[in-house]
């Protein structure tokens, strides 16, 4: 049973459809990321869920009740903003207590719950500080405590880490997941950082031009992208073209990549040209091998644990990331001819 449900949600700004008939179901306690490039409608969708924007069509249902006609202050959602949005004229304590005071909670209980919330985000002892006396990471923690202390139905995170520096960002994202799992709150996390989304999400909704392209677990998004956009957007890919030499029954074809022939799943007819995507880490290179795609090593870049090889194939470049424990980079010279080999199952065929 889904807890948060978007049905045909639409939003139009000046005749441009920003969100197009979006459908999504989120289970209770699940952490779902909205991932996509800027302008894909992810923040707009979040703002519609929070109630800051009206929906132009469709409905939003939380826990069986439609909420899309309620004003934001009646929706019982907790939001963490990109720029923290703490009240600058209130102490940390008053910031966190704000939502509880509005709910007319008893004074002792407010006290207790605020202190608990601050302890949860490891900010005990900061109650009397003002936001401007805190670092960015600390401010974001206060913001998280403020959103969670009111025990909202859904936690909405709008690019909460993008204003922090790289190291802090990683720490904070782990902390957020830890707290989210502990509290067990249904969460939507908006981000444009795919690494972030892959690391923390139960499921990712990849968005592009106002549409959800694919909703899946991080592993499935990475390994079985369903659309062109998802394959290109998530991780790095090589695009290579092959032509069908022979097609068999059951969607099996023999495809030739410049002479390197493989039998794989694809629905093409004889002599069709088919595009495939291939992740850089799925390519192996050998100096001597019976079969493979003959390429020239254009350049190699040492990246610590792995080495990136830029491979030239006629007018096309492939990149291959190979672990240094598998292949010693000193064995391969720039300008050398090698054979690139991959498992046919790793090729992601695209829909044409």
């Amino acid at each position: 049973m889904s807890y948060l449900c978007l049905e045909n949600v639409m939003k139009t700004f000046n005749k441009t459809e920003v969100v197009k008939k979006m459908n999504l179901e989120i289970k209770k306690g699940e952490l779902v990321s909205f991932l996509g490039p800027s302008g894909c409608g992810k923040t707009t969708t979040l703002n519609m869920i929070a109630g800051f924007l009206d929906v132009d069509g469709g409905s939003i249902v939380v826990d069986g009740k439609p909420v899309h006609l309620l004003p934001p202050n009646k929706r019982e959602m907790g939001m963490v903003f990109q720029n923290y949005a703490l009240f600058p004229h209130m102490t940390v304590f008053d910031n966190v207590a704000y939502g509880l005071k509005l709910r007319k909670v008893q004074k002792n209980e407010i006290n207790q719950r605020v202190l608990e919330a601050l302890e949860m985000v490891r900010l005990s002892g900061y109650e009397k500080r003002y936001p401007k006396e805190l670092s960015g990471g600390q401010q974001q923690r206060v913001s998280l405590a403020r959103a969670l202390v009111i025990k909202p139905k859904v936690l909405l995170l709008d690019e909460p880490l993008s204003n922090l520096d790289a190291k802090l960002r990683q720490e904070m994202r782990e902390e957020i997941v830890e707290i989210q799992k502990k509290v067990g709150i249904t969460t939507i996390f908006v981000t444009h950082d795919q690494e972030e989304a892959l690391a923390i999400s139960d499921r990712i909704a990849v968005m592009y031009e106002g549409r959800i392209e694919q909703v899946d677990t991080p592993v499935a998004i990475y390994n079985q992208p369903q659309t062109d956009f998802v394959s290109r957007f998530i991780g790095e890919v090589n695009q290579i073209q092959g032509h069908v030499v022979e097609s068999y029954s059951g969607n099996q074809c023999k495809v030739s990549f410049n002479g390197y022939q493989q039998v794989l799943t694809c629905n093409g007819k004889n002599d069709d040209l088919v595009d495939f995507y291939l992740r850089p880490e799925k390519i192996q290179i050998y100096q001597e091998q019976s079969e493979g795609l003959r390429v020239r090593v254009e350049r190699k870049m040492f990246l610590g644990a792995k080495t990136r090889y830029i491979l030239q194939l006629k007018n096309q470049q492939l990149i291959a990331d190979i672990s240094n424990t598998v292949l010693n980079p000193d064995q391969i010279l720039e300008g050398q001819d090698v054979l690139a080999v991959w498992n046919p199952e790793e090729l992601l065929a695209t829909k044409k």
Binding site: F81, A85, F87, Y130, A147
Partner: protein
């Protein structure tokens, strides 16, 4: 040994050069301030000092300013009920004007900041338009409206609401009306400034936590605009407390204020020392009022620095 000495010398030279650079930089910034600073010093600060000295001199019927030192001018003011009454009235009018300006300006500023695009510029220009008209002309406009057979009284009598004209002109009321009209653009502009500085997501955060529009306004928006209200109030109050033309035209001799009193002493009675003393008392009282006001505001909101 020799090398070390050379090094030291070299360092010293470097150090001196650095110092030179630093002082040059300082000089540059002073140079930029020079035009404004010289005007301020020669045409404001120095005359003020002379005025201050004059206020401690005796009055000489023949030359105006006598040679002996005295505290008589201040004593005369402080002990006289009439003068104290004028001082109280001046401060009262300025305070009421400031308060009225805040109440009138806030909604205007609030609406203007909500509007986007060209309309916003037009509205801002409209608000500023009272400043484009000469103060004297504007005051006589109010005279036409408020006098005994003026527009307001005629209309009220025609409607049968009153039998005989109300005394609107030459009262503290008419002075306040005229001053609010002149001074409220300053208030609108400074409140607009602080409203525009509020991060919109802070307002969203408040709504998200369960506050309706009214609660959000009083808990978040209003406290965050106190700096703007303060800046506007200081401007409006100091302009109102020292204004001369508006009280002179709309208040006349019935509503005497401090600046009118000073004018009387200096140009009619030619008692310059006493005039100076009145002027200084006005500056003193106005400064104290502003300090108390700012203390009250800063105490209520510690998180937001009052600029």
């Amino acid at each position: 040994m020799q090398a070390e000495l050379e090094m030291n010398q070299e360092q010293e030279i470097q150090f001196k050069q650095m110092k030179k650079k630093k002082s040059k930089k300082r000089l540059d910034s002073w140079l930029l301030l020079l035009p404004a600073l010289s005007i301020f010093i020669f045409f404001f600060l120095l005359p003020l000092v002379f005025l201050f000295i004059t206020s401690f001199k005796t009055f000489d019927a023949a030359t105006g300013i006598g040679h002996d030192w005295t505290l008589q001018n201040y004593a005369k003011f402080i002990t006289d009920q009439f003068y104290l009454g004028v001082l109280w009235r001046t401060v009262k009018i300025a305070l009421i004007t400031t308060l009225a300006a805040v109440i009138i300006s806030y909604p205007v500023a609030y609406q203007i900041t909500k509007i986007r695009g060209r309309m916003k510029n037009y509205l801002t220009l409209l608000v500023l338009s009272p400043l484009l008209i000469s103060m004297v002309i504007r005051c006589y406009g109010w005279v036409i409206l408020l006098s005994n057979n003026g527009v307001v009284n005629n209309a009220l009598m025609k409607m049968g609401l009153i039998d005989k004209p109300l005394t609107l002109l030459y009262t503290e009321f008419s002075v306040v009306v005229g001053m609010v009209h002149v001074l409220f653009p300053y208030m609108v502009l400074s409140i607009m400034g602080s409203l525009e500085r509020i991060d919109p997501s802070v307002i969203r955060a408040s709504q998200n936590l369960g506050a309706g529009p009214i609660r959000t306004f009083f808990s978040v928006v209003l406290p965050l605009t106190l700096p703007g209200i303060f800046a506007g109030s200081v401007m409006v109050f100091s302009l109102a407390v020292s204004s001369f033309v508006t009280p002179a035209i709309l208040g006349g001799p019935q509503v005497k204020v401090m600046s009118f009193l000073t004018y009387e002493q200096v140009s009619t009675i030619l008692n310059w020392p006493f005039g100076s003393a009145i002027g200084f008392l006005l500056i003193f009282i106005a400064t104290i009022t502003i300090i108390i006001y700012s203390k009250l505001l800063t105490r209520s909101e510690k998180g937001v620095a009052i600029q």
